[in-house]
Subunit: 244 residues, 2 copies
């Protein structure tokens, strides 16, 4: 069996749950994970609340190969991700010497005061290693299998770029899409039979409402090209037989 690498994501922030900010990081991470052969199994969006973050993190981090978080690592009082992650790992959250001097030198060079708020961004769970932030300097961090990144999409994406080369990846899940002009009500029965006879594939059916009726995108997924092609052929034949 090919090795399967799994992941979960924790999105941290009141602003996502209030609707004020529309998340852009979940779909981005999902696309990247699929592209590199890591199975994203679960996403949770939680409030800026220490108890909620600790409970969610400790629930998922044992179950998946990698955890990715977004949000809550800025300089303000509602940025409590570093403290919460430290609590989940039961380690202190200290000023990290390297992060401190990185930030200090960044602000000094620009003639800006290294305020107490900015100093907060140098606090990391003890034992964490930096995730470089090429956009705005303040680092994300990795502790255990948990990768803690910013919520601002441009920074999240830049940090994820730094993380990707460090990840063990699995056998990429291949996929083939068959467009079907019929709704799920017509193809549902035969499609279930095809799924049964191709147990190594995952066949999904995604309805769209367009031109006054439902249409369907049928997506076959498998980790081997041969397995994929065999199922795709059956799906195409089924659609053809129902439309001609």
């Amino acid at each position: 069996m090919p090795k399967v690498i799994t992941a979960a994501m924790l999105v941290i922030g009141d602003e996502i749950l209030s609707g004020r900010t529309k998340d852009q990081n979940i779909g981005y991470l999902a696309d990247i994970m699929t592209a590199i052969g890591i199975d994203l199994k679960e996403v949770r969006i939680v409030l800026d609340d220490e108890e909620d973050i600790v409970a969610a993190l400790n629930d998922v981090r044992q179950r998946y190969t990698y955890i990715f978080t977004s949000g809550g690592i800025g300089p303000t009082h509602d940025d409590i991700t570093a403290d919460s992650i430290a609590k989940a790992f039961d380690v202190p959250c200290d000023y990290d010497a390297a992060a401190y001097s990185l930030l200090e030198s960044h602000y000094t060079k620009r003639g800006l005061e290294f305020t107490d708020a900015r100093k907060r961004m140098a606090r990391l769970p003890r034992g964490a290693t930096h995730i470089e932030n090429p956009v705005s300097v303040a680092p994300g961090f990795r502790i255990g299998n948990v990768h803690v990144m910013a919520g601002v999409p441009s920074v999240f994406q830049a940090m994820l770029d730094k993380v990707l080369p460090t990840l063990e990846t699995g056998i990429k899940m291949l996929s083939a899409t068959v467009s079907c002009p019929l709704g799920e009500g017509i193809i549902g029965g035969p499609l279930a039979e095809i799924q049964k006879s191709h147990p190594l594939t995952i066949i999904g059916s995604y309805p769209r409402f367009g031109e006054g009726h439902f249409m369907t995108e049928l997506v076959v997924r498998a980790r081997s090209q041969d397995v994929l092609e065999a199922a795709r052929k059956d799906v195409e034949a089924m659609v053809k037989s129902l439309t001609t």
Copy 2:
């Protein structure tokens, strides 16, 4: 104390976690909940996997006033939400007589076959009541505090419209936004002091990167206009003192 009504959302579907489909329902629900005074506390995105759905649902449904789900109630083999919800509630998933005849009459009138796949959409957990579907007939359902709706955004939204009048709503959370041309590193310290002196508010700080530097939107939230205004005044004064 004003009554607080809470909610969680469960997004069900492989296609969201693979990145193939970008969710549009989380942000929509979040906006509506905020508008009607229900606190959305948590969102989970899970696979089309019975064990995952049951575990997530049973974990959240005891903790919040209302649960809303999206996805997995169509006619194909990967639509396993009704069965999974039934399992979570430990009740059978049966053909519902009213849903069956609704669907049968819908397809008969249009001269379409009432296929086995379409019949699947008449299967509901025993004891569930319908959520009307004005877009494509097949109903969603409510069981206990759980509202089960479609994943297709137009259908999700139409179903939610039917659900809203049935919900008990809380005291609406009011909010005021103060735009700040300074980054969080500068305002973080004074903002934390303001949060401390206005404990009945929730003050959030949301950085945006624009025009070559970070700017911040400061959002004050409270359930009373007086409490809100007092904190807003302090935030505005703080921004003014730092920018002039």
